[in-house]
Amino acid sequence: MIGLTLRGIVKHFGDVIAIDHMNLDIEPGSFLTLLGPSGCGKTTMLRSIAGLEEPDEGEIRIGDHLVFSSAEGVSVSSGKRGVGLVFQSYALWPHMTVFDNIAFGLQLQKLSNQQVAERVSEALAHLQMSGMEERYPHELSGGQQQRVAVARMLATRPEVFLMDEPLSNLDARLRMDMRAELKRLHHLAEATTVYVTHDQAEALTMSTQIAVMNQGRLSQLGTPDEIYHLPASLFVADFIGSPKINLLTATARTVDGHPRLDFGSFEMDYHSPPPVQDIVVAIRPEDISISFEPAPDAAPFVVYSALPSGSELIVQAKRDDTLLTIKETRRGIRVAIDQPIWIQCDPTRVNLYDRKTERLLASE
């Protein structure tokens, strides 16, 4: 298993800067997802690793192999980098059968006909597509085409798997199944995978590491847990999580020696004074609880909207200018619009951010 190192990557498209001095270290054997909104540069990064884009500056190493260096004028061609790529559109060649599609790369590796046939069957078997060798892409369903695209990548046994939003064209059900399968294949092949997606749920479920990108820069690199529970900036906090996290401006005060967070229309006790006074408080919807009777430390709110959906109930509660999103998972809870409710949340589950720098403030 090999790792990847990217240093100082800069890429312009005309006047637009797509990647703005990014560094990234990818551990051998990890499943790293490049996550971010459209236009953040994640696909450009992936294509730079693959050799389909040439950065303006920087250095890329795959294992010990220096495949790109602007300083030394090195740029190894894609075919020699030992990577495999699955495109978002699958890019299956329509005039070739499934067999020929998969065999293409193997034939370039100068394998004998028999070896080629064996590898093709093996790859198809991994994706439960055995027997489809003579079909043409247009005779396959979307899901099947996707599997062939993955099989084509697997067949040449690359050490690095690169995938560019491979599941975005599939329906929701298929997507769930394929996520599991891709994870399995990653494990079986002992490969290092770099995966691009804008779907944060996908990133959270599949990855060992997530690199959140924004406007060509790396916002945060961490495990799914770290990204979810300790987002390093307001951008990451806002991007991750469904429904969206609640972000409330507040001022840190000390009342009677106790730290308190003043939201304007209500207040909350806190356990330790934050280093800055002007803050933004981030609370996950599932960390807020509703009660139908007044309680100490509970702020009175009014129900703005209620959206029940099988396993959970999404409630929006309003007080003055503040609108909170709450995820209620207890069974049998029902609310009506304009109903008064009381809001509580555990202070140890909230994150505080510096209002000016938008960075996470260290908490105990």
Partner: protein, 607 residues
């Protein structure tokens, strides 16, 4: 040893290495190759032509004592623009060209737009066959109609023999109807209306129907919608069709040649031809430059108007899905009118052509006079000065072979070069190099065919640099036909390659394929599948080509169209028509062969 080489390579400056890699990119190599070729085949000849027009030439001594061959002079320009012969050489032909071009454009657009609207927007019955039949005139050479016109309308005074009308009714047809501007305008518009029809029906079909539907929902009547929504939206397409048709009719040669020269009614194009035939190359080149400038201005206007490059229209994938306008009581009268019109503009002329080719003796249009003499008859001194029937005449058969050879070679070469050009343009998209290639490939579009032919005379009369003297060879015909087609082939190539290049090619790159392998196994097979209609179109247009090559053919390289022209000049009435009919047969045969290989829709490739 290898290590030393590798290390020394590393020592070469990184920018130099980067530059070398840039140069090694296939699209860059192709682009540089094409730019060089096209500079050689388009820009330099144009330059030489301009140069010839501003220097003294051999033989000019008879015009002026000051003539010193090779030195700079404005003599030729003054001769054309400000001398005693200006009126005959420039002003009158210019006036005639304007009259005929404007007249035929207006008429063609009138017919074409009405037909386009009827076919796409009303419930006229038989819309599909009408649409198919309406494109036929464009497949035939434009001057075929001219020949039929002569057959129908010529009078004894000028032609020496009677036309069908005079024979059938005894009415002496006036000169104004038989030859001159009136028939030129009518015949040209009967050919070019198909061009306007295709452009406009394409635009009408791709108009978003929801724009009109929302107006209807708000209560507007049909006519109001037409007036306030449809027509304003169609205005750019209409103006573009107007300008493009005008630029075509400007440079047309065959029709004014057949219908104008007998009464000494010259247009700029026929004047050009006469000048060349008299050896007055410099004068001809001045006229050619004038034609090119006017043509370029009209196309530039079109570009500014529309914003799309070259005014090419793409027909949108979805057809018009709105409600059709009911014609109610007018339905059948209009249908009859349309059928009569199509009959008169398509079936009748071709029919007349065939009919006259079977007439043994001139002037006798009766059925008893029909014979196969001119098709398969033996040589007989009583008819056509002893020329044998068409299919027995080795000269004709050789010319037919030349025509077919030329058309097939041009079509195939243009297609392959088109894909290569398309690759260079698409892959290099956004770079100055790719834009330059695109613009240079477009240049032949600006030049009327007759002027382009003039350029190539000047170019290849002697050897020039590495190019041998090609005048008089078959190769020059292929060369000029392919170059003239570059604007179309590059457009077709670009749209074919666009669908293929991109991720389909990248997948092969990541799998390790080098450029030649990728091109052979992925790009070429996938891009060619859409090319059939382009190949067919090139075949058809080359088969009917006259003005492009008339100045370049010699007896050894003659083709069917130039032979027809010669026969017409010599007044071999039946043979001329038989030859023209033969060309029509070949064109249709080619169309059917292509359709067998792959169902093609010529309309979609026509611009």
């Amino acid at each position: 040893m290898e290590m030393a080489v590798r290390n020394s390579w590393r020592k070469v400056r990184p920018d130099a290495r980067r530059f070398c890699r840039f140069l090694a990119r296939p699209q860059v190599i192709l682009a540089i190759l094409f730019i060089t070729l096209m500079a050689y085949l388009i820009v330099i000849p144009l330059g030489r032509m301009i140069w010839t027009s501003i220097t003294w030439q051999a033989g000019d001594e008879r015009f002026s004592k000051a003539a010193e061959q090779g030195s700079f002079t404005l003599f030729h320009w003054r001769r054309v623009f400000a001398s005693r012969i200006t009126n005959a050489m420039l002003l009158t032909p210019l006036k005639n060209t304007s009259v005929t071009a404007i007249g035929s454009t207006v008429l063609a657009l009138g017919i074409g737009s009405v037909l386009a609207w009827l076919v796409t927007r009303t419930d006229l019955p038989l819309r599909k066959p009408i649409a198919g039949l309406a494109t036929v005139p464009y497949m035939l050479p434009s001057w075929v109609l001219a020949l039929s016109w002569i057959t129908l309308f010529k009078n004894q005074r000028l032609g020496g023999t009677m036309g069908l009308l005079e024979y059938a009714t005894g009415i002496q047809v006036g000169d104004w109807l038989a030859y001159g501007p009136v028939p030129i305008i009518i015949v040209s518009s009967l050919h070019y209306y198909a061009f306007a029809f295709l452009l406009l029906s394409g635009a009408l079909v791709s108009l978003d129907s929801t724009l009109e539907e929302s107006a209807e929902l708000l209560g507007a009547s049909r006519w109001r919608v037409l007036r306030k929504i449809t027509l304003p939206l169609m205005l750019p397409a209409f103006l573009s069709a107007l300008i493009l048709t005008f630029s075509r009719t400007l440079g047309t040669f065959g029709t004014p040649a057949f219908l104008g020269r007998p009464v000494r009614y010259f247009t700029l194009s026929t004047m050009l031809y006469s000048s060349v035939k008299q050896g007055l190359f410099a004068d001809a080149f001045v006229l050619a430059i004038l034609l090119i400038v006017v043509s370029a201005i009209t196309i530039y206007l079109n570009h500014r108007l529309i914003g799309t490059r070259k005014g090419y229209h793409t027909i949108a994938g979805k057809g018009f899905r709105g409600k059709l306008t009911p014609l109610r009581g007018w339905k059948y009268p209009i249908l009859v009118l349309v059928i009569v019109f199509l009959f008169a503009s398509v079936v009748l002329p071709v029919g007349l052509l065939f009919y006259r080719s079977f007439m043994l003796v001139e002037n006798d249009y009766s059925l008893s006079n029909l014979s196969l003499q001119y098709w398969i008859g033996q040589s007989n001194l009583r008819y056509a000065e002893g020329s044998p029937g068409l299919l027995r005449d080795t000269l004709v058969l050789k010319a037919a072979w030349n025509s077919i050879r030329l058309s097939v070679l041009t079509a195939l070469l243009a297609a392959v070069i088109g894909i290569l050009l398309g690759y260079a343009i698409v892959k290099g998209r956004g770079t100055r190099l790719s834009r330059l290639v695109d613009q240079m490939a477009f240049m032949p579009y600006l030049m009327p065919s007759i002027a382009f032919g003039a350029i190539y005379i000047s170019m290849f009369a002697r050897s020039f640099g590495p190019m041998p003297a090609l005048y008089g060879t078959f190769a020059i015909l292929v060369l000029i036909s392919v170059v003239k087609h570059l604007p179309y082939s590059s457009r077709a190539g670009v749209s074919s390659v666009i669908q293929v290049a991109g991720e389909l090619e990248e997948a092969a790159t990541v799998a390790g394929a080098r450029w030649a392998h990728r091109f052979r196994k992925i790009i070429l097979p996938l891009a060619s599948s859409g090319l059939m209609s382009g190949i067919l179109l090139t075949f058809i247009t080359t088969m009917r080509e006259l003005s492009l090559i008339i100045l370049l053919v010699t007896p050894a390289t003659r083709v069917l169209t130039t032979m027809t022209f010669r026969y017409a000049e010599q007044d071999f009435g039946q043979l001329t028509d038989a030859l023209a009919a033969f060309i029509v047969i070949l064109v249709f045969a080619g169309y059917h062969v292509a359709n067998r290989i792959r169902r093609t829709d010529v309309g979609s490739a026509l611009h």
